[in-house]
Structures are given as structure tokens and as C-alpha cells.
């Protein structure tokens, strides 16, 4: 069965699943609640061929490297420096923009030299190519290092836009509220006037039903 695991394109799942019986899970639960001594004192036996705590999921690793899709990734993810990849770092730690421009000029200059060398002494050509390649790799590397900086800048833009939107929404709401408050106030006034007119009407009509709803109390 193990050979089937190794060579088949659809390998069987690892045998661990057999450990997760109801009985074992129940034992684990009781051990976690009351401790191992109470467990063994009660006469229960731990499973023999594996540690009962192996039923729990493994803790995530906190340092070193892990493998995923056949590649090795550092747990604390960061970019390798040029020295780590055995490439020479050509630029000093100064300002990125300046260094990039210098590298850019070097690249073009070296290319001119390359053309020259190919004409006069073609055997030295590949060396020159390597030099240009190193320059280009350095440029690319500098740009990669700049990415976090760019990310922070983009975050600034996003936040500014959010603030603008929020302020705009607030202003719109306040404008509408003011308009409606105004309408409501006008309504109140015209109601009060109507009130007066109604009372005059009722007086002149000598209506017996004192059915005047005291609207003035409502506002």
C-alpha cells in the first residue's frame, strides 16, 4: 500500500485519519479537561502507537523555512539581499533615485563599450555582457526594494480619497437636512396660520362641536 502512495498519481490520504475514532477523540477531550492522571486513574488506557496529543492540529512554525509547491519560503517573509544571491551589489546605500539614474547611465555606457569591444576584440564580449547583466539586475533589485515605499504612498492616496468621500457625504446629508428642516419650519408656520383661520371660521360659524384639535400643542 505504501508503494501505491508513492507512485500513483492519485495517492491515498495519509494513514493518520484512522486515529480519529470517536473513542480516541473522546479520550482526548477527557484528558484535556481533567488531566492525564485523572484519566489513567479512572482506568482508561492511552492509545499505544501514537501520542494522544498528536490528534491536535500541529502548531504553526515561527521561524526558519517552510516548503510550499516545491519552493522554500522563509517564515518571516522578506526579500533576499543581493549578497545572499551571490550577486555583487554595485550601488552604495545612498538615495535610490540617484543610484538608479547612475546605474541607468552606466548601462547605456557599457552597451556602447560592448559594441566597441565586439568590433575590436570580440573574445572579451561575453565579459562585457556579464557586466551589463549585473547592472540591470542591480537596477531591478533596487526597484523591488522600492515596492514597500510605493505601497505606503498608495495607501496615502487611498486614505485621502476616503476622507474626501466621507466629507462629501457628510456635506450632502447636512445640506438635505437643512433643506428639510426649513420645509418643516415653513409647514409649522403655515399650520399655525391655518389654525388661526380655522378658529376664526369656527367662531363665525358658531359651531357647537368644540372639536378643534389643539394643534398648537403638537409643536
Amino acid at each position: 500500500m505504501s508503494s501505491q502512495n508513492v507512485t500513483s498519481p492519485f495517492p491515498l490520504p495519509p494513514e493518520f485519519y484512522k486515529r480519529y475514532t470517536d473513542e480516541n477523540l473522546d479520550k482526548l477531550k477527557r484528558i484535556k479537561e481533567h488531566g492525564i492522571e485523572a484519566f489513567t486513574n479512572a482506568g482508561d488506557t492511552l492509545p499505544q502507537d501514537f501520542d494522544i496529543f498528536d490528534l491536535e492540529p500541529p502548531k504553526p512554525i515561527t521561524k526558519g523555512f517552510y516548503r510550499m509547491f516545491d519552493e522554500s519560503w522563509p517564515v518571516v517573509d522578506r526579500m533576499c539581499t543581493l549578497e545572499e544571491t551571490n550577486l555583487q551589489q554595485l550601488y552604495p546605500k545612498g538615495e535610490i533615485a540617484l543610484e538608479l539614474k547612475k546605474l541607468n547611465n552606466s548601462v547605456v555606457f557599457n552597451f556602447v563599450e560592448l559594441l566597441d569591444i565586439l568590433v575590436k576584440d570580440p573574445d572579451r564580449g561575453p565579459d562585457k555582457c556579464e557586466q551589463i547583466k549585473l547592472l540591470l539586475i542591480n537596477m531591478k533589485f533596487l526597484l523591488n526594494e522600492y515596492r514597500p515605499h510605493q505601497a505606503r504612498e498608495t495607501l496615502q492616496l487611498i486614505m485621502k480619497e476616503q476622507i474626501e468621500q466621507r466629507k462629501l457625504a457628510t456635506k450632502e446629508i447636512q445640506k438635505r437636512c437643512n433643506e428639510l428642516t426649513q420645509t418643516l419650519a415653513n409647514l409649522k408656520n403655515s399650520w399655525k396660520n391655518l389654525d388661526v383661520v380655522k378658529m376664526e371660521l369656527d367662531d363665525t360659524e358658531n359651531s357647537e362641536s368644540a372639536d378643534i384639535v389643539p394643534e398648537s400643542n403638537l409643536f
Binding site: A97, F111, H149, R152, E215
Partner: protein, 137 residues
């Protein structure tokens, strides 16, 4: 390869956050482009071609120079090229504060609006009740 030059140092968000239009990616593409140009030139010089016209040579030279200049301009247009990392963090902190204030004001405006809505509903209720009373008499 076409690439857009930024009109000012403060790029709009769409350009900055797009996958292929942000300055860094444009720079990376330009570097690839110029190395491709180098290769094309060397290849062209190696192939025996009787019609090696001056014009074609001029064109190659111009292309390479233009591309190199483009790279330089793009470098100048890198976002936040004049802020250090610490300055950036400071700016982000103050923006965060500003956003908090704007949020609070927005919430307050919404609450005022809800209060007003309640008042309006009450008014409508009173008016309609009064109307129905008036008509039923």
C-alpha cells in the same frame, strides 16, 4: 511600447494602484525594453545585410536614447521619492486622524438626519390624523 508620462507628481489613485500602469511597473518594463533593444542592435549588427542603411542605424540609436531618457524621467516620477520612510509613516498617522474625525462627523450627520426623519414622520402622522378627523366630521 507606450507608457504614459505622469502629468504631475501627485498621480491619481487609478494609475497608482493599477497592475500595469504604476510607475514602478513601467520602470521595470522600460528596463526590459532597453535590454531588448540592446539585443536587437547586436543581432542586427551580426546578420550580414547589404542594405545596412544609415537610417536604420539612426533609428536604433534614437530608440535606445529615447528609452534611456524615459527611464530617467520615470525615476523622477517615482511616488514618494522625496519622502523618507519615517516621513511617510508620519503622514499616514495624520491621515488616519483626519479620517477618524471625518468619520465622527459623518456619523453625527447621520444621527441628525435620523432625528429629523423621526420628526417628519411624527408631523405626517399628526397631519394625517387631523385630516381624517376633519373629514369625518
Amino acid at each position: 511600447m507606450q507608457s504614459s508620462f505622469p502629468s504631475s507628481n501627485s498621480q491619481n489613485l487609478v494609475e497608482a494602484s493599477s497592475i500595469n500602469m504604476d510607475i514602478l511597473t513601467q520602470l521595470q518594463d522600460s528596463i526590459d525594453c532597453i535590454s531588448r533593444m540592446f539585443f536587437v542592435v547586436v543581432h542586427h549588427l551580426n546578420t550580414p545585410d547589404p542594405s545596412k542603411s544609415k537610417d536604420a542605424q539612426q533609428e536604433y540609436v534614437q530608440d535606445i536614447c529615447k528609452k534611456a531618457k524615459q527611464i530617467e524621467l520615470l525615476i523622477d516620477a517615482l511616488p514618494g521619492i522625496n519622502h523618507s520612510e519615517a516621513e511617510q509613516i508620519e503622514i499616514l498617522k495624520s491621515l488616519d486622524q483626519e479620517l477618524k474625525v471625518a468619520n465622527e462627523e459623518y456619523i453625527k450627520a447621520v444621527q441628525d438626519a435620523e432625528l429629523l426623519l423621526k420628526q417628519i414622520k411624527e408631523t405626517i402622522k399628526i397631519i394625517s390624523k387631523d385630516q381624517s378627523l376633519a373629514f369625518s366630521n
